[in-house]
Assembly symmetry: C2
Homo-oligomer: 353 residues x 2
DNA sequence: TTGAAAGCGCTAACAT
DNA sequence: ATGTTAGCGCTTTCAA
């Protein structure tokens, strides 16, 4: 930010800086013991209605906010669920978060979000930081973690749910889809519809394990039909329509024989669609398209791009459900594996006319 | 989720459920006092290299994870910053979060996100919950809060930064843009480019104060030119391209004389663009368009939709900077008001050819 | 139904 | 450079 585009001014300070209130303050104000105040505020044990009313009134009028830090230390109960995801700008993860919130809102648990930017080192740091708050559970994306992360999770003795991906070995519970299978199914459908000259466009996959697995499943299924991917195009950084356009232009210039483009996500697929349409290419007659994620925004384009729904909300919901059910400390359901069905959406771009 | 699309199976339980380790365990394992272990782990005070090495080795080999709850209680220092936003699916807030993270990553502070779903009651709950963890600061969206929320914030004696919006009275610090001004400037530009029959498309604004303020500024500036908004179209729920299309179709059917459509965000504006283009309408000759937010994805369309950049990342950065600077407990900078400049991006849809 | 005492795991403050 | 002591503000446990 340059200095010339902001205006700074000063308000009067309306805050009153005093010592935070404690149970004791409420105790004195209401003329009841701290213990009874504590009981009222947590709805625990037997308290007479009269006392309860007195205490609540005092607490409210003072503006008392309980100190969860002290409470958590004393009770060794923390109503926090650590949620560790690679990114917030990916559209995918906000959807997962929505599913998680839907379920946790009906429980005393609260999600706390940590973002790793797809870096295993950062994941390790974030995890360490979150575990040091002794959460009631951990939900984290993916099955690939550093050895240290795995060690921390195993010895934390809290429920751990790895989400998004089921292709691999889990630490405890897993909820996700098989990305290999998603890739395979898409490949089969593409071949079935008669496309043969297939190009792939996606992220550089060294870090993106799920994209890699989809690609592996994809090529594997093609290989079984005796087909190979003709050309590939990779990109760095975030997805955007603009990148989808550029990549599509480049790959088609290099390999004009292509009759199908498989994109590793819907955003770049939509960009590809726009490029093809403006280039006067017949979609899906001349060239077919497919993306991945089942993103809602695909509905707005003139053609509905084929995609595969990654069941993001459901993944969030199931993961949260597992944590909520186990937050009583029971070991019931330990090591559950929930594999959801990736749903193919044919749309308009995967049917030869 | 229906039962038939998931597969459940059970892993072996690899976790070992034992008592969490304490400082004392590390103290015993390394043969140093708890206090010295604590110093090593926090890089505080003078510790000999030999001792430091011993302690670190013991801590690492045991897999010790410090208990921040106890630490926070003892030191009354909590390295958490409460960030309270209306939604994660809005695209706007992930950008703000990115700005916040950029700054906090260089500090000991960590953001904790709470989501209100645009509900003041929910905001109150989330705020209460977060304040009960005694965070080092609070960043929250908007200037409109319930009386109880305001009271809590005022008596919390932590830095509070209200973000996004500067049109109103702040509790402590503010970082944002003037949405009234953003609306005014857009109106002036539209008139300047010769458009006269102007329609507005946006959310039902009872809850969305910022959209409302933009609209107020917009109509006010138009009124000064003797112009009134010809027609309006509102929608509920999340934004989408599809909604932008539908709304545009409806408003144009009702008011075919319109020559400009002002949308309350870029997503529905882009949907509008797609609709107009497919209807064979000349944009921006016959009808001009503008959105709001300066969203990146606008770059992918065949015409760049006019918009106004809401400086989302900068807002996040500045807010985090204020908290970070004040987290030493000083009152320096109390009540700062930072008004950023909304930047008009003319694009292609706000120029008569 | 209410209260008193002990202590959760750490760190501040003060020794040594 | 290292150790000792006394809490932080609650909840657990036990007593009344």
């Amino acid at each position: 930010m340059s200095g010339d585009d902001k205006v700074i001014s000063i308000n009067k300070n309306t805050g009153t800086a005093k010592r935070p209130l404690t149970l004791k303050d409420v105790s004195i104000a209401s003329g009841v013991s701290e213990m009874t105040v504590s009981r009222v505020l947590r709805n625990r044990g037997d308290v007479s209605d009269a006392t309860r009313a007195k205490v609540l009134k005092a607490a409210k009028s003072l503006g008392y906010v309980p100190n969860k830090i002290a409470g958590a230390l004393a009770s060794s109960r923390v109503n926090l669920v650590a949620v560790i995801i690679p990114s917030l700008s990916n559209m995918v993860f906000p959807d997962v978060m929505t599913g998680i919130s839907e379920v946790l809102d009906d429980s005393p648990l609260q999600p706390v979000v940590g973002v790793t930017n797809y870096s295993p080192e950062r994941e390790e740091q974030v995890l360490f930081e979150m575990l040091s708050w002794r959460p009631s559970g951990v939900i984290l994306a993916g099955l690939e973690h550093s050895d240290a992360s795995v060690a921390m999770l195993k010895s934390a003795s809290v429920p751990v749910v790895e989400i998004m991906d089921t292709d691999g070995e889990a630490i405890d519970a897993v909820v996700g889809i098989s990305h290999r299978r998603a890739g395979r199914e898409m490949a089969r459908q593409i071949v079935k519809m008669g496309y043969r000259q297939i190009g792939f466009l996606g992220t550089k996959m060294s870090m993106d394990h799920r994209a890699r697995k989809r690609f592996e499943g994809f090529t594997e299924a093609l290989a079984r039909e005796g087909i190979e991917v003709v050309d590939q195009e990779f990109y760095d950084g975030g997805s955007s329509l603009a990148k989808g356009r550029e990549m599509s232009a480049r790959i088609l210039e290099r390999s004009p024989e292509l009759d199908f483009l498989y994109y590793s996500n819907d955003m770049i697929a939509a960009g590809g669609l726009l490029h093809l349409q403006e280039s006067g290419i017949d979609v899906p007659g001349q060239i077919g398209l497919a993306g991945f994620n089942g993103s809602e925004f695909l509905e707005g384009f003139s053609l509905q791009v084929a995609t595969m729904d990654a069941a993001r909300r459901d993944i969030g919901r199931e993961a949260a459900r597992i944590i909520a059910e186990r937050s009583d400390g029971s070991l019931q359901g330990t090591g559950q594996k929930i594999e959801l069905e990736p749903r193919l959406q044919m749309g308009d771009t995967l049917r030869r006319r």
